[in-house]
Amino acid sequence: MLYIKCPWCGWRDESEFGYGGEAHIKRPEDPDALSDAEWADYLFMRTNPRGSHRERWVHTAGCRRWFNAIRDTQTYEFKAFYKMGEEPPGGEQ
């Protein structure tokens, strides 16, 4: 049971949240300009790193807001929580 800090509500149990997969995957501006392979890459391919992972969470049973987090996939330690639209702390990775 992870302990997660919603940027709007504060620390809550994981059971209040939903997981949204890798963060910062932008929907292509012009999907028609993409090849099938490029579109499939946007649709299906995710990085799955061992270590620092930027990911999305949603406070489903709370304020229903989406936000981002950086979590170590090995230790499950959260390094940061930040709102949608904000730059990830530590800059681009």
């Binding site: 302990y3 932008k26 099938d36 649709l43 230790t75 499950y76 639209g85």
Partner: protein, 1010 residues
Amino acid sequence: MSQPHRLQTGGRIDRDRPLRFTFNGRTLQGYAGDTLASALLANGEHLVGRSFKLHRPRGIMGAGAECPNSIVQVGSGNATLPNLRATQTELYDGMEVRSVNCWPSVKFDLSAVNQLFAPLMPAGFYYKTFMWPKSFWHNIYEPRIRKAAGFGKAPDGPDPDRYDKHNAHCDLLVVGAGPAGLAAALEAGRRGARVILCDEQNELGGSLLASRAFLDGEPAMSWVDRVVGELAAMDEVTLLPRTTAFGHYHHGFVSLLERVTDHLGPTSPDERPRQRQWRVRARQVVLATGAIERPLVFSNNDRPGIMPASAVSTYINRYSVTPGTRAVVFTNNDSAYQTALDLADHGVEVAALIDVRPEIEGVLADRVRKEEIDVLPGMAVVDTTGGQRVSGVRVMRLNTRGDSVYGEGRTIECDLVATSGGWNPVIHLHSHPGGGMCYDHDIASFVPDQPVANTLNAGACSGNFSLDGCITEGFSAGATAAAASGFGSDDIEGEAPATARVREAPMRPLWRVPTRRTVTRSPKQFVDVQNDQTSADIFLAAREGYASIEHIKRYTAMGFGTDQGKLGNINGAGIAAEALGEDIAAIGTTTFRPAYTPVTIGALAGRDFGPERFHAVRKTAMHVWHEQQGALFENVGDWKRPWYYPQAGETMRQSLDREVRATRQSLGVLDASTLGKIDVRGPDAAEFLNRVYTNGWKKLEVGRCRYGIMLGEDGMVMDDGVSARLAEDHYHMTTTTGGAARVLAWLEEWLQTEWPELRVYLTSTTDQWAAISLAGPNSRKVVEQICEGIDFSGEAFPFMTWRAGKAAGIPARVFRISFSGELGFEINVPANYGQHVWDAVWEAGQPYGITPYGTETMHILRAEKGFIIAGQDTDGSVNPMDLGMHGLLSKYKDYLGRRSLSRSDAVREDREQFVGLVTVDDPAEIIPEGAQLTDDPNANQAPKPVPLAGYVTSSYYSATLGHSIALAMVKRGRERMDEIVHAPQADGRVIKCRITSPVFYDPKGERQNV
């Protein structure tokens, strides 16, 4: 009632409070403070059960959580508890105890003949022998094995007890109230930190409860009493004895099981719950979980009377019970010397102390020799004799490499063998959240390598076995954890009590005593005694190519029992290292997982059980009316929806036929309140709908409705529904009943994460509206009669529009939409007025024979029209072209999923397409839903796999048409009109089907447009 093995004085039992209990029908006596195990031993009862596979006699082995053998059934009736560990079961007056896993009795067990066939049942036997044929497994092997090998028996009826759950937060959770845990709690508690201290035993003190050590010149328990007294007086400290931390999860979340009244009787005697699950979120966790002594492994080491040395000491010192009259101590380290002294000091003859180390020196050895105990260095127990109790050991000389035994050999008679192979830190809770471990050569066991975040390991569980070391580490951990929570500094403030430090000689690691012949040809050396798993099994696994300890565990079933191999697993790793010719440090251990000890399902469920409490039930405003009409209900999502309304004497088919005909011919009414409703509002609402629906929404005029489908980004149909434009910036969206929450979450996700610039607000209004759907040629007459302020003429109120007005005096939105193909109106009113308006509709409909119908008739009506139900006719692999919905795909805008519709797989020509089916031979036969379709009429006989042509998604009898109809996905289906496909059935029949349009009735849609 005598307790022949009870000492006259000493121990932590209350001789003034005798307790009676029965064991296999015999009445025995123990004392308050006893465990069931100590009370049995006081009465000389070692033999408590039979082993799992071989039905060998098994006795009480350990004294706590580690005991693999003392599994008993306690209590009777619905309060009976199977598989309790006698070593952790506190005795109460009147306790009824039975042995498990033996028939007809523990002393005479017919299945013990399994032992004679033991060579036939090696490791992997289950896998290899029972692979084929499958039916044999279900019908013959499994039932027999279950009968012969099952442990306790679960009660048949409901549990008479109550259970509870409790959520708690604290600065510091200390697990284990031995010397380290008490010191940690004291240090943090004195600083004002909020501390929870839990321990699985009935009293706090841990190993000190059975220790003869001195602290500050007094017996150790005096120090414990002082510390516990001080802690109990602290406002912010919670002491939880009888509480096991069974699971350690991430970020300081620990699950505890508090046995609130287990020690008072078979059920809770008062209003308290029997057990309580604590869900603790701690800023810092200190694990002070101690260590478990591991036995030495030798042939026939499973006989009753063979116990870890520390368990022997515990029974003597804590429970004042002597587990034998003539003992042999067998060890590879110094700690068992204390057991020899405990035995000798309490009048038990120690026939010999056998030590595998060739040279023995030190304070403890000197004291043992002073007691004139025969110390045999460089020797090992190679075998034992006995039946239902050990009667002697066979001793030989061990060579210096520790890989063979030699010499004359000698037999020593005894009825108790106390063994010690060293100590294993209890690293289970450290390991649960992923904490790593490494091999420590000094103690020949595994210790935590780095603590888990915000967690500290203190005392024996970190590999520090000395008493003064444990206490110092405890104070240090308490200081560090308190400081991390904002209470003081890392410097220890408390003062550790003075203790004599005994210098111990190094141990000599020995994972098993060598055998004279090969291990597989020697008498069994048990590693995991609960599962009858032996060192020979491990050698067999290695020979068959298993190299990972995780695979060896699964092949041999090592550690699979209710004790999870607490005694045997590290020995097993050492033996696996020998068998594989590798170092134990490289072999490692298997993964430790929750629960540390078994947890009752009741405690996990708490009060969340039963049909009312476990799952939310949603009922519409008209639910009671449906019940009164005799409706049967169907679960759709969390909703209870009327399924159909049987009348007296009707079959289901007759009810459905009646409901369908009434609706087609005159008037039917459906409670449509459960349909998902989302209020979409804001200046960019039209743009938003344009992006999430496949068709265009900007030009939809206020007052009109439109059908839309939503796709996932993969292009597959996700949900559908009709949405209405209420105002320029305001839409009323509907979704499927089951999809409402998912669609709302999907829309919110896109708005928040991808399109934050859109000014759109979403509100779920499903519960706020009651929806009454009228269908049939007479529906207009009813709405005209009960509504005000709406012109219902076809010109003023055309199909797919909505109007605001009043229904039965209540402000209402009336939608002219149809899911049946008939003229239809859906009246939406605030839910609190739902029944009132329903009553008005019901009364006004009487002249037209108004007939309520449920979901089943709704399904038939829509299937006759070829309307899909998302989730029934689609399954996440169906795109809109497959459904023939090309007309709904806008060419003038982008929308979610659009790009995926031109992917090569989406435009493949042999995709399955949505079609209708009718049966050929028997027009009334209903094809089972889910039936597979083949082109080959003899598919049942054809070589497998048979190429599939498609599958049936919906299937009904249509009273309207007088024959059955089905909807199906068929490869190239639209090109195959009037062709034949076959639906082979499990019973050998083949149903012949003709492919048709999915629209069976009124293909031009004239009936809904009148």
